[in-house]
Symmetry: none
């Protein structure tokens, strides 16, 4: 069993770097704070005897040698960058749980057959630079190193420059690094485990995601003298699409998701009929056929709105990845470990994207979820119980041992 107190203390120590007044963490990818966080984790890894490799997109691999170094390593990890109003656990838990597994193996002087590695991936959050899950995306070839390095933040600084600046542009070619199997522990970021009073979520799959920018163009006019029948009110047409986004998701329970998170109204004045409204649409499903049906339904609805109202509406897909079912062997290893350890479990489909979905393209992968308070994350009040974090880490230890061999 792992040392839950040591895991908790490491989490709290890492959370000091970029700590916010409200108890959260703001440690955006490739900032000075990210560098400090990376340096601390690397220092801990060195103290635990691990060998460090950094690749050209800044992914860091920290290796504990196996008795058979020819075998591909069994890898675990996550990310240590955070949202602008992020919490202490999202990503960080996955990395430090891996480190705790290594420390435990050291304590118990256990020699695994396959090597064990702990990884952290660059810019998972996508808050400072898009696309999200950048490091693991480049690693698995979802997009190129050049594309990723050219991405710029709002101030115009590029990923390539910032990697160089903080000293994490490594030598290794991303992806040129064998992986025998990959596990990632993470807080659930949703309310299901807490609602059902379970400790361990076995993650069979991650939902696919389709992101859009939608813009409705009408005609700005004065709210008083313009008769209702002569208006071209962009907001009224937009609200119909916003409601349909949710209606579509509701037509495909239990895994349909539809969210409008971001809205901008122009000119945004109380007595001006909106001339233009821009908003985001986020559709998800664990079934790619259904996700595609949802995509077709929103597209058809937008087309119908445009032809019925005569307003110009554009719907642009800005991100997409398909659902990712995890490998039965890894899912099985997680389930076995949790049952062996006597934790209550249930299957939880991940609604959020994780680095594991990209790694799953190259190697068998699986995830372990633990509850978080009120299902809240991407929020400074994100919280999780030490006992749950310890349980998830124990499951990780045993799942990795099953795959690595002793």
């Amino acid at each position: 069993r792992i040392n839950g107190t040591r895991l908790w203390n490491s989490l709290m120590e890492l959370a000091r770097i970029g700590a916010t007044d409200k108890g959260g963490v703001k440690r955006l990818a490739l900032t000075d704070l990210d560098r400090q966080g990376r340096d601390l984790v690397v220092q801990w890894a060195r103290e635990a005897g691990l060998a460090i490799t950094v690749d050209k997109i800044g992914n860091v691999f920290m290796r504990r040698e196996g008795s058979n170094p020819a075998l591909p390593p069994i890898v675990t990890g996550s990310h240590i960058d955070t949202q602008p109003t992020g919490g202490k656990f999202d990503g960080n838990y996955g990395v430090l749980a891996g480190l705790e597994v290594v420390r435990t193996l050291n304590d118990l002087k256990i020699r695994t057959e396959a090597p064990i590695e702990v990884a952290f991936w660059t810019n998972e959050e996508g808050s400072r630079f898009v696309p999200v899950m950048m490091g693991s995306g480049v690693f698995c070839g979802a997009f190129s190193l050049e594309t990723a390095c050219a991405a710029r933040d709002v101030e115009g600084k590029s990923v390539g420059e910032e990697l160089e600046r903080i000293g994490y542009r490594g030598e290794q070619t991303p992806g040129d690094h064998p992986i025998g199997a990959y596990f990632e522990t993470h807080i659930e970021q949703g309310p299901v485990l807490e609602d059902e009073d379970k400790v361990i979520g076995v993650v069979p799959a991650v939902m696919g995601l389709s992101w859009y920018d939608c813009t409705v163009e009408g005609m700005e006019a004065h709210a008083g003298p313009t008769p209702m029948h002569l208006r071209r009110d962009a907001l009224q047409v937009a609200t119909g699409i916003m409601q349909e986004t949710v209606a579509i998701a509701n037509r495909y329970p239990p895994y349909g998701r539809g969210t409008v998170g971001m809205v901008q109204v122009f000119p945004n004045s109380r007595n001006v009929i909106p001339g233009r409204v821009k908003f985001s649409i986020d559709l998800r499903n664990v079934n790619d056929e259904l996700l595609n049906t949802m995509h077709e339904e929103i597209t058809a609805f937008v087309d119908r709105s445009a032809s019925e109202t005569g307003l110009k509406i554009t719907l642009e897909r800005v991100s997409y990845y398909p659902p990712c079912p995890f490998h039965p062997d890894c899912v099985g290893a997680v389930r076995n470990a949790a049952e062996k350890l006597g934790y209550s479990t249930m299957d939880v489909v991940s609604g959020a994207g994780h680095d594991a979905i990209y790694v799953a393209r190259l190697a068998p992968a699986g995830m372990i979820f633990v509850p978080c308070k009120d299902g809240i994350s991407h929020n400074e009040i994100e919280d999780a119980q030490p006992a749950h974090l310890e349980a998830g880490c124990n499951v990780l230890l045993h799942a990795m041992l099953e795959r690595a061999g002793v």
Copy 2:
């Protein structure tokens, strides 16, 4: 007859202050640009021999003495602040038409019996600070000087501070300034005159208006892992109220109006379910009983939404004025002048509020409308024909002369 070219040239010169790329004007109340606009108009007034008085809310009165200074002045005016995406004519025309009347009287060496005054009122638009028509509202006692001075913009700057800063916090107590009669020329800001091919709109009345701030409070959560039935999506509840706003107006033709012009979503991130949405509601009608029915309907709908969804919704009325019928003498003076001058006329109810409705509480008042292109205003492409602006100004001259006596 007035000098249409001089009027046009003054309009174009004033429109340079805050000119936008798209040919409009952005000169928000009490900004540095507003100060520059005010200074230019005051300079022109001084050049025309007028005496300047500024009151404590920054209303400016520019006086041409009459042969009988004991008579209350015949006043005309409007405002020179604009919408964020405003045009060259809204408000500015009413002020510069007044100045052109004075210049014409000077040219023709006409001495009126009653004094003539040209006024511009502070913050008519209400874009930067609510309430709207602030200067004339304080002047007529619709709300207090203290309330108005305490109003703050989104950055937290108050009307009082900003008046001081731009040097337009005057000495005179608002309202402590007799008015014999008030006329205001304005572009129609609607499509009716153009549609009916008339040059002069005689304005029998202005619609009443009811403004609200509505806030829906739900719970921020991650767009992926949060199941649809566990969400408290503030935006989805808000869109229902936004659609009802328009539906209510459509139930009361031809003078019902319903508009949502301003929306703010928190935290406004693509993959976060909105936890809070704040938006404006604008309801109007020329019939006060119907306006009240509309008020009751939106209130009931909001209450129903709150109880059906369990979300907290607040609906706060932030502005209200009843429909304003203008004084028969002033309406008659406008009609007589237009007919005498041979212009085509029709009656047009004003959907937009004007400073005239507040002044009408203290003195007989009336308005003169001229067509604007496609009925568009509160838009950078707002446009009007020089011949129409000249016609409106001629009508103003003769209506004022009828009331002032020569």
